[in-house]
Symmetry: C2
Subunit: 406 residues, 2 copies
């Protein structure tokens, strides 16, 4: 008897018919003799609708209350799926974040899971109940509802899988698996059979949009095998696993792009010790995630400093930095929303040099200007003008030999 | 400084504009130096929509999960109102049923409040926070979400008012106050300035639809003064208070009617000790509230037994009784959904005889047949054919001298 966590995203539970399909899929796995914990998202569109409602009330609605509002989305789906399963005579019970003991910190809208009390889930599982957990939500030490940020249901699923010692965490989604690039803009993209946690970590953070980055971090930390697969067919998807699981190691496994970032630049910042802390502490305290940071030292003792933030938090971030700039005596603050980031990723880079120069040359040949560069052990990312995104992905995909054979 | 509980029903929070109006009303009371706890319902129509969704899944959806689903309605409004208040720079915080420590029994869909831990609410109130509590919901001893039944937010409000020792509980609704009859069908109905708990208890149970009966029971038990008033104007409504509060005592203060009941009759039930328990225990265990019960003994040792239940639970109730009838050897079970109940109510009845005969004669004059009668100390109710409801209310209103002066 295996213990399986199955996570279904918003498009998989978009209406009562689709919820019924999910119930049948869960029931089939249950009937095969497995124990199951289901983690679900809000119905597609619901979270956006609720966010829009909150925006109508205020530009900066109180985050605590936004979480209370958003949590209704997953609560609704959890109740409907449990109801559907019981109407099919399967023993099922919904659990909300606080009931499943998903304990988080107090960072509303982007909370981190501190621990999960597996107790109640396992008690139900032992009675052969199908447990339906509302994803995306938890509760802080004071009992306030928190949410885990966009895609947080993935993190719920993997964290629960880790806490209860599940054999596998299946992420059902509207795509077949992980591709070498976004097939919508790169027609020659191929599905990968397997990918390492580290590659996926880099992809997720770069907008592959299939798995939330924190869920992959959890999976890696607790070594939870994750299977990303389609909720609309029975085909095998992509396994996200340890690097040493005998995967074939390509130099570059994927080309990703991300358009939902914006750049903020502080001009002529006094180059003194502690200045970076002054610039980034207030941003971090607001819960805004800063991605790339570039600093160029100048001879005059002043430096220009650029960084990227999610486009959705750009207004808040630039407001904060205007205050900071005044305090620290920076000359100017400006931003750019028309940027995109393209990246190449692969664990094989560790043993190969020259990947960066192939990337830069490929972009240069198309006259695409690079305005920021950042690298990690297995990834190289370039910020470019947004309008060149699709072109850049396609030429890099070809340059690194990823195109599907005709 | 007074401590006030203000409860707003579904029509008062039907959209964001109306929620803003509620926020202004709450803010005004707060600015006048009062401490406030707000209890809100789901936006008008939301609960019906959710119930319809559950019915699409199953005729008898799992009640535990229906409660999880329904609770999202009040959760949404509580978050939106707290958000609106904070956007207006008022300190406000939402609390869900379990956060406000509204402890109930396990009877899903119709749970009873066991106690309320006033602790958290009072802690916030002492910090001059406006506390916005999601009405209608609580949690059972195992931490499952429960709901209190239709109109349950009234009960939440009064129970919270009792628990925190509020000076008054204001129930804001879409009517001006309590009328001598439903003005929609009786144009001569008048608004009452005050009404006793007992009269209100009888009215509420008979479908006055302004206050849930259990809320009035709570108000009476803990002597909470309740002010029923309009959320759309500033006029005084009706005070629901102790009988000895110096009210003028009329013989009959109101005529009420109720159309959402149905009658079930068991024919030729063996007339043995314990038979009533066999008939009603399974119904009660299903959480169905039986209202009137009439039993006629026959000479043959068999009896006919009729009772009324809410129309919405008729299908479930008759299914249960068919099984019971087979077990106890009753001859037949049938039902009637086309019934209505009209009642006259007044504490003055205690000191006056002849009220019943005026009622029966008045109905007889219009050729309205009475099929069931029940009486209490301050109320007489008759079940009649549904089509005569409006006529019956108007003629009784006139007969008991309640018509407004021209």
């Amino acid at each position: 008897m295996r213990l399986i966590v199955q996570k279904f995203g918003g498009t998989s539970v978009a209406d009562l018919d689709k919820i019924r399909n999910v119930a049948h899929r869960v029931a089939k796995t249950y009937d095969a003799g497995n124990n199951i914990v289901v983690v679900i998202s809000a119905m597609a569109g619901v979270t956006d609708h609720l966010v829009a409602m909150a925006s109508q009330i205020s530009n900066l609605p109180k985050k605590r209350e936004v979480d209370v509002l958003l949590a209704t989305g997953e609560q609704t789906t959890a109740a409907l799926l449990a109801m559907t399963l019981t109407s099919m005579n399967y023993p099922a019970q919904s659990l909300l974040g606080h009931q499943a003991e998903v304990h988080t910190d107090c960072s509303h809208g982007n909370a981190r899971i501190l621990d999960i009390g597996a107790h109640r889930i396992l008690e139900l599982v032992e009675k052969r109940q199908i447990v339906v957990v509302a994803g995306f939500q938890g509760c802080d030490p004071h009992g306030n509802i928190t949410t885990l940020g966009r895609g947080g249901s993935d993190t719920s699923a993997v964290a629960i899988a880790a806490a209860i010692g599940a054999d596998i965490c299946e992420i059902f989604t509207d795509v077949d698996g992980i591709y070498t690039a976004d097939p919508n803009i790169c027609p020659k993209a191929k599905k990968l059979d397997a990918i390492s946690y580290d590659e996926m970590l880099n992809m997720a953070s770069l907008g592959a949009k299939v798995l939330q980055i924190r869920s992959v971090g959890f999976a890696k930390k607790y070594n939870v095998p994750v299977h990303v697969r389609s909720s609309f067919n029975e085909g095998e998807g992509t396994m996200v696993v340890n690097e040493d699981s005998g995967m074939e190691s390509l130099i570059v496994t994927s080309v990703t792009h991300e358009k939902d970032q914006a750049r903020i630049t502080l001009k002529k910042v006094p180059d003194q010790p502690g200045i970076a802390a002054k610039i980034f502490t207030p941003i971090t305290q607001s819960g805004i995630i800063v991605d790339m940071i570039i600093q160029n030292t100048r001879t005059s003792g002043k430096t220009d400093l650029s960084f990227t933030v999610p486009k959705s938090e750009y207004d808040q971030a630039i407001e904060i930095e205007r205050k900071v700039a005044a305090e620290i005596g920076a000359e100017d603050v400006f931003g750019d929303k028309d940027i995109a980031k393209v990246s190449v990723i692969g664990v094989g880079m560790r043993n190969h040099s020259g990947v960066a120069s192939i990337m830069f040359n490929t972009l240069a040949k198309e006259n695409i200007n690079i305005s920021m560069i950042s690298t990690s052990e297995i990834r190289i990312s370039c910020v470019i003008e947004e309008k060149y995104t699709e072109l850049a992905v396609r030429v890099l995909h070809t340059a690194f030999g990823l195109d599907a054979e005709e």
